[in-house]
Symmetry: C2
Subunit: 331 residues, 2 copies
């Protein structure tokens, strides 16, 4: 009972060589029917499971997928990860999650860990493009919500929602509700996501002949920061009749701030969020938002990383998932 059994022990009990046990485990076919049965039975009896470190060392690849994510506390990321993980479990790939806490230093550390663990693949969410100078070498990697490099290395793919279209949908919904003087509250500065959503938004306004939006830049991507950003603008005399908040948390902070100043929603100001997480329909005022298709995206990420690991799907390039407008009580 003491320590765990090794492949060698299984071999001993089954009266075959370690090599044979290995072959059976990996189903590579070069063994007889009866040998297979005997070995499998013993494996079962002993509750044997192969040592992943030995296996990984030998194959120079650990059967584990690394996920790098800015903040698991964010429901959007948590849900995405959950879908990915569930799907990956069916392929017998566990998932190691590395949380960067939106800090560049931590992100760098995460990259080192991922590499040191020799993960089979990486799903890299919202990463900083300036980082990772070849750290990941040729490990299959899918970047989520990151601008594609001009000349990506091999074994790289890009996935994101159609953020630009999301910006457009938000603008159109706001204009449809009668807004003429628009604002936008941005995600983290310089982010791919932020840039795209803003571009789609600004472009739609321009096409409709409406003045460029007032840009609010909260100090963080939180309820509190959004709250404060809105008050700051209001107090400085800034005025708008419609605002697109680039995440749902920002939207809920903005709504609270507006209400606290006696602004009526959607009477005086209309609001649109982004993500469609729980708060968007469970906050004091359920708000209109842009929904990302987390399920489809998560499943795609899992399936694709597996394909990449097994060398199927050598194509690279970008996959974009459509977003949709969810109308609620703020527009």
């Amino acid at each position: 009972m003491g320590r765990s059994v090794s492949l060698k022990e299984i071999a001993g009990r089954a009266g075959v060589s370690p090599a044979t046990v290995s072959r059976v485990m990996n189903k590579n076919g070069r063994y007889s029917r009866e040998t297979e049965e005997r070995v499998l039975r013993i494996i079962e009896e002993c509750g044997y499971s192969p040592n992943q470190m030995a296996r990984g060392l030998r194959m120079s690849r650990n059967q584990i997928i690394g996920i790098i994510v800015p903040d698991i506390t964010n429901e959007y990321f948590a849900k995405l990860i959950q879908v990915v993980q569930n799907t990956l479990f069916d392929f017998d790939y566990p998932v190691a999650i590395y949380n960067t806490n939106e800090s560049r230093d931590t992100e760098r550390k995460c990259l080192r860990y991922v590499k040191a663990q020799d993960v089979s693949g990486v799903i890299y969410i919202n990463g900083d493009s300036s980082l990772e100078e070849g750290q990941l070498q040729d490990i299959p990697t899918i970047y989520v919500d990151r601008a594609p490099a001009e000349k990506p290395r091999a074994k790289v793919r890009y996935v994101s929602s159609d953020n630009r279209d999301g910006g457009r949908l938000a603008a159109e919904e706001l204009m449809r509700s009668g807004c003429r003087s628009l604002a936008v509250m941005t995600e983290r500065e310089g982010t791919y996501v932020m840039t795209e959503r803003l571009a789609g938004y600004a472009c739609a306004l321009e096409q409709a002949g409406i003045a460029p939006p007032l840009v609010l830049r909260p100090k963080a991507i939180t309820y509190e920061a959004a709250y404060e950003a809105v008050l700051r603008v209001l107090d400085a005399g800034g005025r708008f009749d419609g605002i697109f908040c680039q995440t749902d948390w920002l939207a809920s902070g903005a709504i609270a701030a507006l209400l606290s100043r006696g602004v009526s929603i959607p009477g005086d100001v209309r609001v649109v969020g982004f993500d469609d997480i729980s708060i968007s329909h469970m906050c004091s005022l359920p708000f209109t938002t842009i929904k990302q298709d987390i399920d489809a995206m998560g499943r795609y990420l899992a399936d694709t990383i597996i394909d990449m690991i097994y060398g199927r799907d050598e194509s690279s390039g970008t996959k974009i998932f459509p977003v949709s407008l969810i109308t609620r009580r703020t527009t």
Copy 2:
């Protein structure tokens, strides 16, 4: 640039033996000042990081902590994990997260993975006591929110909030608000957490000479299930003037259901939740709840698992964290 450099290569470049490089890396002291400097410089230059699989194989322990958790989508767990992870990062221990999705089969699979990875330690949240028959062998393990075994194996500790006291606080707050006919909506059946919170609640009622609570058992621990459970009771003619919901999600669903039936809160019915996650102050009606000290608990978990790994702190036993009442607009 191709593949990553090995310890052997570093040794070659530094003109020393692999053993020496290993010693320097592990700071075990048996080398000269100048050797150390030279080796460290080369390591830096080459961006070398040791192969964890080889290291782990040799030491028969992977430098990684496994966290088994029912649902990362749950803000309470997500926050706890985040704190744990941040703290563990400082000790250079990455964290692998295994999500059981509240499913017993998946939980079993998680256990196998954890073992196969030879993790250095396990933080096992809300686990099913009937599972894990010696799977974890003597891997240092901290169980969170699980009933202590009568005769725990070595290298095991138990941590939880003072759930019983939480139940008591809820009961007292409700009674203080004038409730005389009480209800409780439970967490998953048979859970340690559920049992403790209920015990504290029921006990406080009894001591005050109030009838035992009406028990509502939602089909899942979600907003929707709670909503439905309340309607079911109401429609069946069940009545109460105060309800303790064992999680915040349940509370918000219950509140929504009550309001949908024209019940006034806190006029007709008072509500208390548990956890103090974001929705508790950002939902349509900010509600009174019992706050768990996630920060303290998370830091304790991380520090303690490290101590256990290094063989300090051989004491076993249970650590309980106090909870506190947060009063809002539902009592």
